[in-house]
């Protein structure tokens, strides 16, 4: 589409385009920072309360000869841009177009975490569901059929324990496969009720005329139907050719 910069991530202060960028998203307090630390070897603060991370952290790790830039996003319950954190996370995933987004979910509370996952999957197909805290789930006698979930969702599902390091190897391998294009997820889309789908059907062609026919135009159409003005602001902010904002601005 016209006006779209070649490297969308430039707008988030990430200049280096040679390494793929991977985002960590998820509900608050699901262990994103713990996993971030375990993967990058950094020492960001963690804590057992929702909202610990308010400043976005970035780090790197190497796996299979591939360097990956990892971004630890603030935890959110939703991506419907009701708060600044949600808007940051959403903008990063939609406008930043990371090569992959890892959604970190709490194994002991899967249902409410799937809410966010399903929202992310509407924005981008390049999603890995990382089910963390499996040690806790085991202790609480919760069993999860990961294979079945993977099949139902159409994206890779990786059980891990950020604390013990269990499963992180598979997570890195899955990320590698996704950023190198060996793994092509095909997430199942949610179908809404007749009225919503009807309205979608009417405005989708026009939206595709503007942003092009990619997988995310449906998501954009839904947001417009909801009357979400922040997404229009976002488009003007990120997808036009004005000088990119400084990272502090985006995160402020």
């Amino acid at each position: 589409m016209k006006g779209q910069p070649v490297q969308p991530l430039l707008r988030f202060g990430i200049e280096k385009a040679d390494s793929p960028v991977v985002a960590l998203a998820g509900n608050p307090n699901t262990g994103k920072t713990t996993i971030f630390n375990a993967l990058t070897g950094l020492n960001q603060h963690t804590g057992n309360w929702p909202g610990k991370t308010v400043v976005q952290a970035r780090g790197k790790y190497c796996y299979g000869g591939q360097e990956v830039v990892l971004v630890d996003l603030p935890g959110t319950y939703s991506l419907l841009a009701n708060s600044v954190e949600e808007q940051i996370a959403r903008d990063f995933i939609y406008f930043g177009r990371p090569a992959a987004t890892i959604v970190v979910a709490d194994a002991t509370c899967l249902e409410r975490n799937l809410n966010l996952l399903l929202q992310v999957v509407e924005i981008t197909p390049f999603v890995i569901l990382c089910i963390n805290l499996i040690d806790e789930a085991r202790r609480k006698l919760i069993k999860i059929d990961f294979a079945r979930l993977q099949e139902r969702l159409g994206i890779p599902v990786v059980p891990v324990s950020g604390r013990t390091g269990e499963g992180l190897e598979l997570l890195k391998k899955t990320v590698l496969e996704m950023v190198t294009g060996q793994l092509r997820p095909s997430p199942k889309q949610i179908i809404y009720d007749g009225e919503v789908e009807g309205a979608l059907h009417q405005i989708l062609p026009e939206i595709k005329g503007i942003v092009g026919d990619d997988a995310t135009s449906r998501w954009l159409a839904l947001r417009l139907l909801e009357g979400d003005e922040t997404v229009v602001q976002g488009i003007q902010h990120y997808l036009t050719t004005d000088p990119p904002p400084r990272l502090e601005e985006v995160l402020a």
Partner: protein
């Protein structure tokens, strides 16, 4: 019946959210959509807020927020 009136230990089912705007969207995001089961777990020592079990998580809401949720008592 309002969620703020649900006694500790009792379970209710969300019927509707009566407020609009940001607060409504926030409550929806927490998973309070019609049909959702919700249980009152405890009361803060000061009486307000209340803690609820909402879809497997313990979430505290102030009384005036909880009074925006209409519920039906479940046996």
């Amino acid at each position: 019946m309002l969620l703020s009136q649900l006694p500790v230990g009792k379970t209710g089912e969300v019927v509707a959210i009566t407020c609009s705007g940001l607060m409504r969207r926030r409550l929806l995001d927490l998973g309070l959509v019609p049909g959702t089961k919700i249980q009152t777990l405890r009361q803060s020592p000061g009486g307000d807020p209340l803690a609820f079990n909402i879809r497997g998580a313990v979430i505290a809401l102030r009384l005036d927020t909880a009074s925006q949720v209409k519920i039906r008592l479940v046996k």
